[in-house]
């Protein structure tokens, strides 16, 4: 936690060099998946494997959230029977996974991306359209 705040303090002095936007991958339909193609702007900043691993994990998490399994069916039927009032006291499966995703992104930012002057933005803040990666100018990061 303290680590994050000190990174943010450093970042307040850093300028944004560029932003890269990872687009959605619609080849399997309208499910939320992102393209794993490695953008050229990140070539000098981060390992390709690392990046693909992050995106792949995110894709798996979103697939888990949107899975049409027995759990979502039961949740749907139960909710329907109670006229969806059950969602006033219960979190939906999707929301639980979104929390997991938020935690994962923060963890990735703290461990991998921030030390390299990058910042991943949670796609939910961009309407699940893009993963925004902010590239900061390499200034006085103490490495």
């Amino acid at each position: 936690m303290a680590e994050t705040h000190s990174l943010q303090d450093m970042r307040q002095q850093a300028a944004v060099a560029a932003k890269v936007f990872i687009q959605r991958d619609y080849s399997n339909g309208t499910m939320c998946q992102f393209q794993t193609k490695f953008p050229s702007e990140l070539e000098t900043k981060i390992d390709k494997q690392q990046f693909e691993e992050t995106i792949r994990t995110l894709n798996n998490l979103y697939a888990e959230a949107e899975k049409l399994g027995s759990q979502s069916l039961i949740e749907g039927c139960l909710a329907c029977l109670t006229a969806y009032t059950v969602f006033l006291c219960m979190e939906t499966h999707y929301e639980k996974v979104l929390k997991k995703i938020a935690k994962y992104i923060q963890e990735q930012n703290d461990k991998i991306y921030a030390p390299r002057g990058l910042l991943l933005t949670d796609p939910i803040e961009r309407g699940l359209r893009v993963i925004e990666i902010t590239i900061y100018e390499d200034r006085s990061f103490s490495r």
Binding site: M1, T4, L7, Q8, R11, Q12, A14, A15, V16, K19, V20, F21, R24, Y26, S27, N28, G29, T30, A65, E66, K67, L68, S72, L73, E75, G76, C77, A79, C80, A83, Y84, T85, F87, L88, E91, T92, H93, Y94, E95, L98, K99, A102, K103, I105, Q106, N109, L119, T121, D122, I124, E125, R126, G127, L128, R129, V130, E132, T134, Y136
Partner: protein, 371 residues
């Protein structure tokens, strides 16, 4: 030159583009024109009240008390579905922020190459392949994004809506990905309720006629009886046919996993029939996906939450602050950085609650005005 600080409470949703109205601390999101929605409410509540007041006592006594009880349950379910459809975010896609819009513009220009002056640039279309079918993604000039498949821009609400079905004035909102199942359940249960009321109306008249004769039935009961009887039957009759028709139509669409928008445009009919890439080619699976699929989160809700941080300039200094449009670029990442870890550390439950729960409301904005 003295600077005057004016503190003004800015409601978060005032910052959101689009023509939606928000109520109840941002919990309720509707279109601007709500007149027909109030009419729908009035018709449903009015007709059902008449039924409960005039018909149910007789039916409860002479037939069974279960009849009014079931009617009440059905009525409550209809109202719940109507309110849920009307008040929830249909799946509005937030507009692209300037950096994203610029990024997309640069990509488009790179793809188009050099267009000779005087010639129109080619239309902004992206082709994607979904399940062996080429789908064209159109660019939305208002929202500055390439619309995801099945999304469409609603001109009434001035938003791009994901899995856009249609804009329904009767519910005062768009029908899209997030509220389609509530809309369908509303039409279905309203049809059932109308059939139920209509049927028991007839039963009531028949039973009274058997006891007292038909003409006497119309005379003997309280003076208003013929009036409300005719109103009943008329409203029920027209509602019944339109609702049953609409429910049938949407059942057909669900079984094929199509939206009203696609059906009207003929995207997957005629020569394209059988090529719908979104359909599972199995009626049960299609119905399950649409009706029992995952409950998608409202990304507008997250925008509302986000706006409170980007609009309220986090540096609480006494120096005159610059309004939002002129916030220098190097301040913005700090806001984004703070924001991206802020709510997740401090208020994860609040950030993840469904839109019907209340997020924080007002943001204080200090605006410096130079005299």
């Amino acid at each position: 030159m003295s600077a005057v600080m004016i503190t003004r409470k800015v409601r978060k949703w005032e910052k959101l583009p689009g023509k939606n109205t928000f109520c109840c601390d941002g919990r309720v999101m509707m279109a601007r024109q709500k007149g027909i929605f109030y009419l729908t409410l009035f018709l449903i509540i009015g007709t059902c009240s008449l039924f409960f007041v005039f018909e149910c006592p007789y039916l409860a006594v002479h037939l069974s008390p279960a009849i009014p009880v079931f009617a009440v349950l059905l009525f409550l379910f209809v109202i719940a579905m109507l309110l849920r459809t009307s008040f929830s975010d249909p799946g509005v896609l937030p507009r692209a922020l300037p950096e994203e819009a610029n990024f997309i513009e640069m990509e488009i220009e790179a793809a188009n190459g050099n267009v000779p002056s005087g010639q129109r640039p080619p239309p902004r279309i992206r082709n994607v392949q979904i399940n062996n079918q080429i789908v064209k993604l159109k660019y939305c000039y208002t929202c500055k994004i390439f619309r995801p498949p099945r999304a469409s821009h609603c001109s009434i609400c001035d938003n791009c809506v994901d899995r856009f079905d249609h804009h329904c004035p009767w519910v005062g909102n768009c029908v899209g990905k997030r509220n389609y199942r509530y809309f369908y359940l509303f039409t279905l249960t309203l049809s059932l309720l109308t059939i139920y009321i209509f049927a028991f109306n007839i039963v009531h008249v028949v039973m009274r006629s058997v006891d007292h004769g038909f003409l006497n039935t119309l005379k003997e009961t309280p003076g208003t009886y013929p009036l409300n009887m005719n109103t009943f039957l008329l409203v029920c009759f027209f509602t019944l046919w339109s609702m049953v028709g609409l429910t049938g139509f949407h059942t057909y669409l669900i079984s094929l996993n199509q939206t009203t928008n696609e059906d009207i445009k003929g995207s997957w009919s005629g020569k394209n029939r059988g090529q719908n890439p979104y359909s599972h080619k199995n009626i049960i699976k299609n119905c399950c996906e649409v009706l029992c699929g995952p409950t998608y989160p409202s990304v507008t809700f997250f925008s509302l939450f986000l706006t409170s941080f980007s609009a309220s300039f986090p540096q609480k200094t006494t120096a005159p602050l610059i309004p939002n449009e002129h916030t220098p670029d190097d301040v913005k990442p700090s806001i984004a950085a703070e924001k991206s870890s802020g709510p997740k550390d401090d208020q994860p439950p609040a950030a993840m609650l469904p839109p019907l729960a209340s997020p924080e409301t007002d943001a204080e904005t200090s605006i410096a005005k130079n005299q």
